[in-house]
């Protein structure tokens, strides 16, 4: 009589899982596209300061990263505690910057080269001396678009 009793006895039909792989693949492709694999492991401690006037860095391929900070515990004995520059995955000096920029430049299409940005990921506790040297070197290498990496301010 009741609607519910009718159903009793009937085997519950199994939900078709045939489309499950497709759904998973869709998700997979999404994550594959948005993923940027870290290409360099940090050898310096970088804790960027907070700021409010931030601009987003577009097009990752047009950005080169310069890390400045004090060597992490692992490298302290070898490299000391004074601030160091890291280019790619190794320690570098200011003199290595022009070559580093050039190496990045040749990978970028010619019509986009004017939009190359250098992202300075600098630890908040580093003194300005090394930052200034690097800025001067960037100016000498005619790499004038610079982005001081910072975290959004949480109030």
């Amino acid at each position: 009589m009741s609607k519910f009793s009718k159903k009793r006895g009937k085997a519950t039909p199994a939900i078709s899982t045939a489309s499950l792989p497709d759904i998973i693949f869709m998700l997979l492709f999404f994550f594959m596209v948005v993923t940027v694999l870290r290409d360099s492991s940090l050898m310096v401690k970088v804790n960027t300061p907070q700021a409010s006037e931030l601009t987003k860095l577009e097009e990752k391929s047009l950005v080169n990263y310069l890390y400045i900070g004090r060597p992490t515990d692992q490298y302290k004995e070898q490299y000391g505690t004074s601030p160091r520059l890291q280019l790619g995955d190794k320690f570098a000096t200011v003199d290595d910057i022009p070559l580093f920029l050039e190496k990045h430049k040749i990978k970028v299409a010619e019509n986009k080269r004017a939009r190359i940005t250098s992202s300075l990921k600098v630890d908040g506790d580093v003194t300005m001396g090394i930052v200034q040297d690097i800025k001067t070197q960037l100016r000498k290498s005619n790499q004038l678009k610079v982005n001081y990496s910072a975290k959004p301010k949480s109030e």
Partner: protein, 185 residues
Amino acid sequence: MAKKSSKDRLTNEINAGSMADIAFLLLIFFLVTTTIVQDKGITVKLPPWSEEEVDATKLKTRNVFSVLVNAQNQLLVRDEPANIEELKDRAKEFIMNPRGQEDLAEKPTKAIISLKNDRGTEYKTYLAVYNELKAAYNELWDEEAQRKYGTEYSDNMPTEQKRAIKGKIPFVLSEAEPTAFGDEK
């Protein structure tokens, strides 16, 4: 015999049941390695390199808003100690000079902000100061955009509107060669 069995195999289908598992495995891998966090920061255009120093002495003092940061991270704004909290409002007042004061900028186009730090200044102080000065300009641009076009200032505004605003209130920040009193050894 062998022929027959291969014929049988043709009719067999590859079992796609484990496909989902494989896809899941890959999915989890990419989920873990993905960093969605956007890279953000303060974008700066450095001046081209030139050997000779810019001579600031021929500028009128009323048009220069000098900000000095020493190795103890203390601020000296227009020759008097200041706090970082008041920097933005003072910069805004200096640029616009709403009451036409004698000692503030003649007009926004003539205003120059001069920033000088020491080699011993902490980077976070430097960036905080830079952030405040940039915020002052951003707010002024915003006010200008509201007054003129009734919208807030953003990067996706029409280029000519942006140019008009920036032509009226240009962002001029000159950074002097830092002093080296507190340099790290």
